[in-house]
């Protein structure tokens, strides 16, 4: 009796998901726990693992949006017939088998020959190297092995992969290279296009970072085990400012304005697969050191493509810091459904007139983008004024 593969509910409030592509084709053998297909939800694109072992007998829904719980494929034994009811949802079509009894039989199913990704034979790689490559989405054929007989070992995946530059150079001049869109790229495109439909306004302010920099230094000395950055201080002070300006810690929905009790601050991260925004939950209640730890954890996992759905859920505000790229200032695009996002530029020495004299001060320019359906200009301005005051005199945030 074949096992039905149903679309899982991966997070609270998930009603449907979009199947991006199947990682196995019909007739191929599948082990429980192996990635089976890529699923796009409004939060994240992720690989979904098979919940049973056997042969992928039939893919009922190849791609597109599917409601949660719908049967999308069947896994069973080679040559087994699949019973499917007309609506594609075969729940109740036949009694469910006792799955625990199936295991020994399934293990005996011989794996059909699987084509490798190389043109001439098999890639020599250790099991550990294969696992790391699978988890990080690295193509083993792009690597050179340093193990015995050129075997790819784990160490080879730690080195930067040879860049694609030589390939590009060898392409004929003027020829356009076409790269298939990754599912993360598709999600970024869809969500930012959606953001563009939201009426937004921007507010810009310059901040004297003297005291904030001192605070970063002081915190580093106090917490030598944690790498504390300006982003952590910005996260903490933004969270404190959000708690004073609850009207900014909101989301616009069709029938109501949702006002959130906590400041869950998203931090935009340039991961190898594209932009992701993991969330530091309850930043208003965490110390700067705790924020630094939480940030290092989620950002680290974002870079390793190991984020979980809950890491990306529930943000009420986003910080995008391009200071490390020496960008003076920029305007960020909203991260829907959040109502505001803060774009942070680099801190650089500027001549500033103060009390009739010229001072050289470390200045930073930040720009707040707000969803005008939810937030008015004055609300945004008041928040920004408080945040500027906190950054210039962090003691005020206490």
């Amino acid at each position: 009796m074949a096992t039905e593969v149903k679309l899982p509910r991966l997070g609270q409030g998930m009603e449907s998901g979009t199947i991006v592509k199947w990682l196995k084709s019909e007739g191929e053998s599948v082990q429980k726990g192996e990635p089976l297909y890529e699923l796009d939800t409004d939060k994240v694109t992720q690989e979904v693992e098979a919940e049973a072992s056997g042969v992928l007998l039939k893919i009922s829904i190849a791609e597109g949006e599917v409601p949660v719980g719908r049967t999308i494929a069947f896994i069973g034994e080679q040559g087994e017939a699949v019973a499917e009811s007309p609506d594609g949802d075969s729940a109740g079509a036949a009694p469910a088998p006792a799955e625990t009894r199936r295991e020994p039989e399934q293990q005996r199913v011989a794996a059909p020959p699987v084509s490798t990704t190389t043109t001439n034979g098999r890639i020599k790689a250790s099991p550990l190297a294969r696992r790391i490559a699978r988890e990080r989405g690295i193509d083993l054929s792009s690597l050179t092995g340093t193990g015995p007989d050129g075997r790819i070992v784990a160490h080879d995946l730690e080195r930067p992969a040879p860049t694609a530059a030589p390939v590009a150079a060898s392409a004929a001049t003027g020829e356009v290279e076409s790269r298939a869109l990754s599912s993360v790229r598709k999600t970024i495109a869809r969500r930012l296009t959606q953001a563009w439909t939201v009426p937004a306004f921007q507010l810009t302010v310059d901040v004297d970072m003297t005291r904030a920099n001192e605070l970063v230094q002081g915190q580093r000395e106090l917490n030598p085990d944690v790498r504390i950055t300006v982003t952590d201080v910005l996260t903490k002070l933004s969270a404190q400012a959000l708690m004073r300006h609850r009207d900014l810690n909101v989301q616009f929905s069709d029938d109501a304005l949702l006002v959130f009790p906590n400041a869950d601050v998203g931090i935009a991260v340039a991961a190898p697969q594209g932009l992701v925004v993991p969330v530091v939950h309850g930043a208003d209640r965490l110390t700067i050191a705790q924020i630094a730890e939480a940030r290092a954890d989620v950002v680290g996992r974002a870079r390793e493509a190991k984020l979980r759905t809950e890491d990306l859920e529930g943000g009420t505000f986003t910080i995008s810091n391009l200071g490390m790229y020496e960008i003076d200032q920029f305007i960020a695009v909203l991260n829907p459904p959040q109502a505001s996002i803060l774009a942070v530029g680099s801190t650089r020495d500027q001549v500033v007139p103060r009390d009739g004299e010229l001072h050289v001060l470390p200045m930073m320019t930040m720009t707040l983008t707000c969803d005008h359906r939810a937030v008015d200009g004055a609300t945004g301005a008041e928040f920004l004024k408080t945040l500027k005051a906190f950054l210039e005199d962090p003691g005020l945030a206490l």
């Binding site: 250790s126 099991p127 550990l128 190297a129 340093t146 193990g147 015995p148 784990a154 160490h155």
Partner: protein
Amino acid sequence: MPELSYREAVRDALATAMRHDDDVFVMGEDIAEMGGSMGVTHGMLDEFGPERVRNTPISEMALAGAAIGAALQGMRPVAEIMYEDFMTLAAEQVVNQAAKHRYMSGGQLTVPVVFRTQGGAGWSPGAQHAQQLEAWFVHIPGLKIVFASTPEDVRGLLWSSIYDDNPVVFFEHRTLYGIKGSVPEKIEPIPIGKARVQREGEDVTVIATGRLVHESLQAAEEAEKEGVSVEVVDPRTLQPLDEETLVGSVKKTNRAVVAHEAVTRMGFGAEVASVLQYQAFDWLDAPIERVGAKFAPLPFAPVMEQFVVPHADDVLQAIYRTVNKKV
């Protein structure tokens, strides 16, 4: 903590159990006046008398059978089989009787017997007195198999073996009797089925038994000088096997060497390698290396014996192969 030799540690476990418990007694060939061919039971006749330190005729089958009979009657006998090569003569009793009665009686009978035996090369005893036959007995359901490598372990594990209600084949290594080590003041039973991490390391796990534990520790020190960090794990009991500790260590280091003095072919290490490849497949960064004796009867000639059985350098070369290091 007091220091005991491996030989004294075995004797201490036997004598302490006999003082503590009238059901425990020892029997074997030449174990009374002579104190056993390895001197393990030396002096015990004086303390416990001929009823409890019993010389037997030269028939391993008879003495094993007598020990099993006593165990079935509620005693806790410890039978010494002078050389593990001679376990082949006792095999019918050990394999077909001791291992089976508890199962075949539906649990109505228990066989709390210990077969102590010793073997191993390194002193030129030749092909019939130096074999390592532990794999023969690990293959038999119903037996527990212990192979300790240090004074502390041999004492604590022999104690647990005496008080286990199942038959235990207890292997000692001839060349380890003289090694010394500190032991707890009072005997602390060591649970059967728990491995010991003898040395922690990051790059390679060496799983070794008996004499090879010491050879592996020596190899680990050499490897350390070359920047390779080696973890050495002694399973101590071969059946039941502490798979969790072995697999956990290999998942940490990603590389494994399995080492014993017995021949590699069909050796205990083959089973360990199988457990590792199945449970830690996705963690392995190199093929599992096996170290054991060459597939040949052991020669008398010392240089030839030295050549056939593995030593620290063989373990070291295997360690280097797993990290693809050329030395």
